[in-house]
């Protein structure tokens, strides 16, 4: 009977119905289904499918964002149970994300977060106008693989360099990789400041994040 529940879970992701995703997660716990099974056999296939549909132009950003929200809703129910059991889900990696201090541009960074969530990363989004030290501290605390720093202004872009320098000062490099992005950010800039990854867009950011994590392993 779990099969039907798993299918419904995938469907709730595809439809972007967060209430339904949450309800199904609760139902799974009541029925004694392992939370890890619910994630891996129910929700993740839904995320994979919507990701594929997006890649070939059949699904669009609003669907992707809603799918991400539904996924987050389900995880909120299932993760405490997993903590109790002492099990963890298989992650593509952990990434701390934020728009750099002085810059309040939210959209591109949030989109990258959604895409990474869809791709199976644990994303800790610290929001906008994030001080360098907060990014670094959080990454250390969460044992993150990557810090992703966004900047949309040529004036705040310079602060991306500070993140790398702070990591170096604290001896956290090269363990924690740094990805940079944002409208004025170029490959040359990323190279100049010694960033590990750069992408023009959210889809590319996922590929870069995967490469960085794979290189680490």
């Amino acid at each position: 009977m779990s099969e039907e529940l798993f299918e419904a879970m995938a469907e709730s992701i595809l439809e972007g119905e967060d209430d339904e995703a949450i309800r199904l997660a609760q139902e799974a716990l009541v029925r004694g289904i392992q939370p890890l099974d619910a994630i891996n056999l129910g929700y993740v296939p839904g995320m994979e499918q919507i990701g594929k549909q997006y890649s070939c132009g059949e699904a669009f950003l609003p669907q992707l964002v809603l799918a991400g929200e539904a996924m987050k809703g389900a995880l909120k129910i299932l993760e405490p149970e997993m903590v109790k059991q002492g099990v963890g889900r298989e992650l593509a990696g952990t990434i701390v994300l934020g728009t750099i201090a002085g810059d309040i541009h939210d959209i591109g960074k949030t989109l990258v977060g959604t895409m990474l969530t869809v791709a199976g990363f644990r994303v800790i989004d610290l929001g906008v106008d994030v001080p360098v030290i907060s990014l670094v501290e959080k990454a250390r605390e969460e044992k993150a693989d990557i810090i992703g720093v966004s900047a949309l202004l040529t004036t705040t872009m310079a602060n991306q360099r500070d993140v790398i320098e702070a990591l170096e000062d604290l001896g956290l490099r090269p363990g924690i990789k740094v990805m940079v992005g944002g409208a004025p950010v170029t490959r040359d800039w990323a190279e100049e400041i010694g960033a590990d990854g750069f992408s023009e867009d959210a889809v590319g950011a996922v590929a870069i994040a995967r490469e960085l994590v794979a290189a680490e392993e």
Binding site: L61, I107, A158
Partner: protein, 486 residues
């Protein structure tokens, strides 16, 4: 009769304005500037200080809006009237703040430097289709602290035309006003005959940042025209519906104008913007999308219903080359903006979501603008009767070329394009090298640059301006200003 597009019925305009006033109360406007909040509160608004939110009642905003001038004029270097903001007058200026240029030979997008900006200024100066200059490019070799004022410096040195500009940092607004004042003969002279408009941007949705608010206040007090560039991003940082974004645009403009007028009633300010839809496949903000142009045309109609001067960002393309997409998006959106009677349309010359400027595209866009301005003139009654008096001696032959009237009137009736537009026969085209539009624009670029002449600026003013900018450049770590050629 100037042809027009109107997208909104009077009822719909009323509803948009009513909902905008509702947004001013709920959720309110986030104003991240204590002095601006204090001014609003003193005028009768309520505030949630902890969250920096101000709730502005309609009557408070309306009282401030009542003092916004419906018209103002921009003057050129010689002090002559050049641009009329207000009513249905339509003007064009190049897009601004690009960071890259399209190299016409390698087709690379590379970071812009001073020489590129100078080239763009010279070209815009030489093309009568452009009524004003913009500070079109950010020069990558110039320290960021002076990036904004340095662009203005180059425009003032190389152009006579009015300027659409803006500051990147609050402390530079006053400096840029002082630069303009040097050439105008003092601050009061600049107020009397403004040469420039300064763009000021709210942050969507419904936020006036510390910097944006400060800019509004400084410009109002200086009496220098401000231009609100509200950027609802439909479906991301604004409602997905075009009308929803128009409501948000109105709320951002009304709140900004209220702050501005409270700082100094009667200072000139423009109802403008650079909204866009979001491409739901790519996550980009297409400036060339027709829906983007529809938002602009609609908000312009709302602004006009108040009697405000208007501005929009149109005539740009998201293409990476100057190709069919570039021409189609640029001319379609520019035409919609012109038919909406928008006073200043910024954007020509631009590619790649306003990131890149192509001097050649600026030349090609000028032809589109020529045709658009001709469209705005409509069909006019040049003779009475219209035709019946012109058949004497014609005898069923094509003899109209011989009529004096033809010679007298053809230039009034027809826009005469430059060589960029190919209207030759196939053989003429072949003999000319079989060039495409882009190649013809390159040739025209050389002609324009060869014919360009530096404006004559009184030497004491020029010296004062250059000394001022050189001093600021030195402070920012730039030993000397780049050598300016002729």
């Amino acid at each position: 009769m100037q042809p027009k597009v109107t997208l909104l019925s009077p009822d719909l305009i009323s509803q948009i304005i009513n909902e905008a006033f509702q947004l001013l109360l709920e959720p309110g406007i986030k104003v991240k500037h204590p002095e601006a909040r204090a001014m609003l509160v003193e005028a009768g608004a309520r505030q949630d200080e902890a969250n920096e939110i101000v709730m502005i009642p309609e009557e408070v905003a309306r009282k401030a809006l009542d003092t916004v001038p419906g018209h103002f004029t921009l003057y050129n270097q010689e002090g002559e009237k050049a641009v009329q903001y207000g009513g249905d007058a339509v003007h064009f200026d190049p897009g601004s703040s690009g960071v890259n240029v399209l190299d016409p030979d390698t087709l690379e997008h590379r970071p812009a430097i001073s020489a590129d900006l100078i080239k763009v200024i010279k070209i815009a100066e030489s093309l009568p289709q452009y009524d004003a200059q913009s500070t079109a490019l950010v020069c990558s070799e110039i320290p960021k602290e002076i990036g904004d004022l340095y662009r203005l410096y180059l425009v003032l040195r190389y152009s006579r035309k009015p300027v659409i500009t803006g500051a990147f940092r609050a402390e530079n607004t006053e400096i840029m006003i002082d630069m303009l004042a040097i050439l105008s003969g003092g601050r009061q002279a600049l107020i009397n005959r403004p040469r420039a408009v300064f763009d000021v941007c709210p942050t969507p949705p419904l936020i006036w940042s510390q910097f944006g608010s400060q800019n509004l206040i400084d410009l109002a007090r200086a009496g220098v025209p401000a231009q609100i560039v509200s950027m609802p991003l439909a479906g991301v940082a604004a409602p997905v519906t075009l009308l929803g974004s128009v409501v948000q645009h109105a709320a951002e403009c009304i709140s900004g104008m209220t702050i501005h007028q409270l700082a100094k009633p009667g200072s000139p300010i423009v109802w403008g913007g650079a909204p866009a839809i979001m491409d739901m496949r790519q996550g980009t903000t297409p400036m060339g999308a027709v829906e983007t142009a529809l938002i602009d045309a609609a908000y312009a109609q709302v602004g006009k219903s108040f009697g405000f001067p208007t501005h929009a960002y149109l005539g740009a393309s998201d293409a990476k080359l100057v190709d069919y997409q570039a021409g189609m998006e640029s001319s379609t959106t520019a035409l919609i903006g012109a038919l909406a009677g928008i006073n200043m349309i910024s954007g020509p010359g631009m590619l790649d979501f306003l990131a890149c400027v192509s001097p050649e595209k600026l030349i090609m866009d000028a032809e589109a603008i020529g045709m658009i301005k001709r469209t705005l003139e409509g069909v006019r009654v040049q003779t009475q009767p219209l035709a019946a008096g012109m058949y004497g001696g014609i005898d069923f032959k094509g003899g109209f070329l011989k009529q004096r009237l033809t010679n007298q009137l053809f230039q009034k009736e027809q826009y005469l394009p430059s060589q960029v537009i190919d209207r030759g026969s196939i053989r003429t085209w072949q003999v000319g090298g079989g060039l495409d539009t882009f190649a013809r624009a390159k040739a025209r670029r050389e002609e324009l640059l060869a014919g360009y002449q530096l404006p004559e600026i009184p030497s004491d003013q020029e010296k004062e301006l250059t000394q001022m900018v050189a001093g600021l450049a030195a402070k920012a770590g730039l030993d000397k200003l780049p050598v300016l050629n002729q």
